[in-house]
Symmetry: C2
């Protein structure tokens, strides 16, 4: 039996080359049971005419399908669905019934709502995206990344790509982190003091699980990264929040009996404050005197374009009290999901055992690609390119904020990728953000960063990591105009 | 100042092309501060002669270094270290002190020893690797995988690659799983009933966290996948073990008050038993009658080369009581770390919230690559190729085991990738495995699969997923010889 050419339609919404789409169309028909073994495909000429593509494209697609044993070629008589082609399942699939389970009871431990992510997935379609923590297409070095990924996909690296590492990491990547990245933060570490993680999020989570329990007291900054608060809430430990000031976390304000402090000394999240050296030393002294540990989230240290970054807290730590969290999310891209923990070997051993149970290891291909990207120097080149661009954007942003007389509540001394803003009294920045979306402007309302049930609502974060420099002045002007309108409204009420 | 050509040495142990290694050598020298801005590199001709490579290779490396702004080119006068080149850190890195922390006290929750992985990382160098669950270079379709990975790295997919998905998954991949993979297991599911995970391990872990707590009773098979026992031990729930028979888990043996049953009906791990339909239905009836849930680990269902696989337990589930765990680790490769959970929406919602806290989402590039690989039909082609090879290996293995009169304790009715073996009484298969390593033979001792403190020691697993068919007879002969020797020794004692 011949399959009619009329049954074929190219999915216009599909992606990929024409050839790939033809392969996909034929393979799907076979997999769904529409075409059966032994049936004859339309000739490449007929198919090409029908689809309006060149004949060679169809021939190439057919040849690929033969290689995958979907089709067989019988010389001049044409292409047939292979006798070895996969068969559709013998039983009909059925939709699971809604069920008889009482899920409010069946859930043993609730984790919702968890972190509340309300950033729009289509942020790139906004004209003025002051959005935080996303990759900028215009800065990222896709070509070299692709080359490194391709190298890591080669047969030479087959094992690195495919193997079950169990609880281990890619030795090449660990080597580059210890030899290249950590020394820049003033840290020397052995390989048994480093653990790769699924981003900084996973590193913070592992730290919380290993160091805390229901009797231990964790201290976090207020405001702070909301996902960290969720991590600690789910960890079911005691939790205290400490308000930060212009220098970040004040050690004197830590409550008695603190077991673990989570802090962001390089760029306090979200206020961007940098902790001065004297305060870092005071914090370490207090940790030693009161026998607590410190988890240092050093995200974004690479973005120090205003002056050289100060040494990390960990590099000042004489007593093995600091667990260091690093990440490639800000410097490469967040979808990579790769970060690392640095700490004393007994801690890393526990975190590694937990990671093995939870997920085994970060994917081999991701690890090897980053290892190549680092070793070839592309990483450093990218950081410098990003630093130059951020520096320029920051200057323009600072000038625009000043021109419109907007209040900056916090900026990074060394750089960073965002400023922390304060709206006039009475303005709810969640409403401001909603209003600005209609103008194509994305800002991040600040309430979610605060621990209080009724948090301050007048703060917001303006990131310059994804917005082109030329659009910053208009974007800020739109924010200023909206703020003026809202202030007027609140007065008129 | 000129940099002497004598200071350059190609690292002979390094990987990558000659050009890449030259780039790396120069970049490292700059990053470590050995070469300073303004210093002149040796001419490409001198460098080429010194290193014994072609001049064009050096020129290409220099050109790349200029593109990354490590070097600048000053026309005929040559290449110089760029004024914008990155600087080494201003402070010296220091090794963290051993410290003053009492780590036996500081660990809030211990996770070691956790899963005990004692498989050799260099298994591929063994001549007779009856090793389980690793990718076979000779079967895996690297070319098409590489093409799909490359497509997923294109600018068209920039967002899919780089974006922070927060708690979401790649819609393309979820779509293919629900439309292509699940229907083959008899399952229809909406996208809000599917969650991507970091392999089956992560899926099982998430399920345990969401469904259990200290008052709930989980039942697992005995013997079972050791990492599952670790997951449940760390979950701090009540745990009971149920001995399996030749048909897998017997529902009648489940203790009263069971809340969640973890089972492997397709191929019981490790005995390879397939649960008959009648028993599946009995298990589901009991679940409904006694109000418990079932987590079905359907790993390796694709490897059904002897006959069509029976429908999954989930497809028979009328009451929404089954959580289904799928994985690409066996069909693609374990280093991918990609699996999925299918279950009622209220369960998936909780698992998604927990995943967001623990790691956010599996890397975007991995998800998109698998989506392409599935959509182009390569996945099905690979499964068939693997199935044919496994079928052939299984026939040869069965014959060899019979010829040497070795005792098979369990085999998969539908296929699988391993057989479960029983050594003569008195043989400790851990000693057998150690002895066989010297002969280049890798087997997996069975004791770790059992829950008992003093587990049976005479079982072992023989996998045929990574051993070439031609080596199976000799490998089995070596095992038979070692068993005969050990039996003789145990008699002589």
């Amino acid at each position: 039996m011949s399959i009619s050419v009329e049954t074929f339609f190219l999915d216009t919404a599909a992606e990929g080359t024409l050839q790939a789409r033809i392969q996909q169309m034929v393979a799907q028909g076979i997999l769904k049971g529409r075409f059966r073994p032994g049936e004859r495909l339309p000739s490449s000429r007929r198919m090409a005419t029908h689809l309006g593509v060149s004949r060679i494209t169809v021939t190439l697609a057919y040849t690929e399908l033969v290689a995958d044993d979907y089709l067989t070629s019988r010389g001049r008589s044409g292409y047939y669905v292979s006798e070895n082609a996969p068969e559709p399942p013998a039983f009909a699939a059925q939709r699971a019934a809604t069920g008889t389970v009482d899920w409010t009871r069946a859930i043993g431990r609730p984790f919702t709502p968890g972190v509340n992510f309300d950033k729009p997935a289509d942020w790139a379609s906004y004209r003025y995206p002051f959005i935080y923590g996303q990759a900028d297409k215009t800065l990222f070095d896709s070509t070299n990344w692709r080359l490194c990924a391709l190298q890591a996909l080669g047969m030479r690296d087959f094992t690195a790509l495919t193997a079950d590492y169990y609880d281990r990491d890619d030795p090449k990547l660990v080597d580059f982190i210890t030899r290249q990245i950590l020394p820049r933060r003033g840290i020397l570490a052995h390989e048994d003091e480093v653990l790769l993680t699924m981003g900084a999020q996973n590193a913070l989570w592992l730290s919380a699980q290993v160091l805390l329990n229901s009797r231990r007291l964790a201290a976090i900054e207020d405001p702070c990264y909301p996902a960290l608060r969720t991590i600690l809430t789910q960890a079911r430990c005691q939790l205290s929040t400490v308000s930060v000031d212009a220098d970040g976390l004040p050690p004197d304000a830590l409550p008695d009996g603190t077991d673990v402090v989570f802090t962001t000394p390089s760029h306090q999240c979200p206020t961007a404050a940098t902790m001065p050296i004297a305060r870092r030393k005071a914090l370490l002294q207090k940790a030693e005197a009161e026998d607590f540990l410190i988890v240092e989230d050093d995200y974004e240290f690479e973005m120090s374009f205003l002056k050289s970054p100060s040494p990390s807290l960990k590099s000042l730590d004489q007593n093995g009290r600091v667990i260091y969290v690093g990440s490639f999310s800000k410097s490469l891209f967040p979808g990579l999901r790769l970060g690392y923990l640095v700490g004393p070997a007994p801690f890393i051993r526990e975190a590694r055992a937990l990671r093995a149970t939870v997920l085994r290891h970060p994917p081999g291909h991701i690890q090897r690609t980053v290892a190549y990207y680092l070793s070839l120097g592309h990483y450093d080149a990218l950081i410098r390119r990003m630093g130059r661009a951020y520096h320029e954007r920051r200057k323009v942003l600072d000038a625009a904020l000043k021109a419109h007389d907007l209040t900056v509540a916090g900026v990074g001394t060394y750089g960073g990728s965002a400023v922390w803003m304060k709206a006039p009294p009475g303005v709810d920045t969640a409403l401001l953000a909603a209003r600005l979306r209609a103008d194509g402007v994305l800002i991040e309302p600040g309430a979610a960063f605060f621990a209080a049930e009724d948090p301050p609502r007048q703060y917001f974060r303006l990131a310059y990591s994804s917005i082109p420099v030329a659009r910053i002045p208009t974007g800020v002007a739109l924010i200023a105009a909206a703020l003026k309108e809202m202030a007027g409204e609140s007065i008129s009420i």
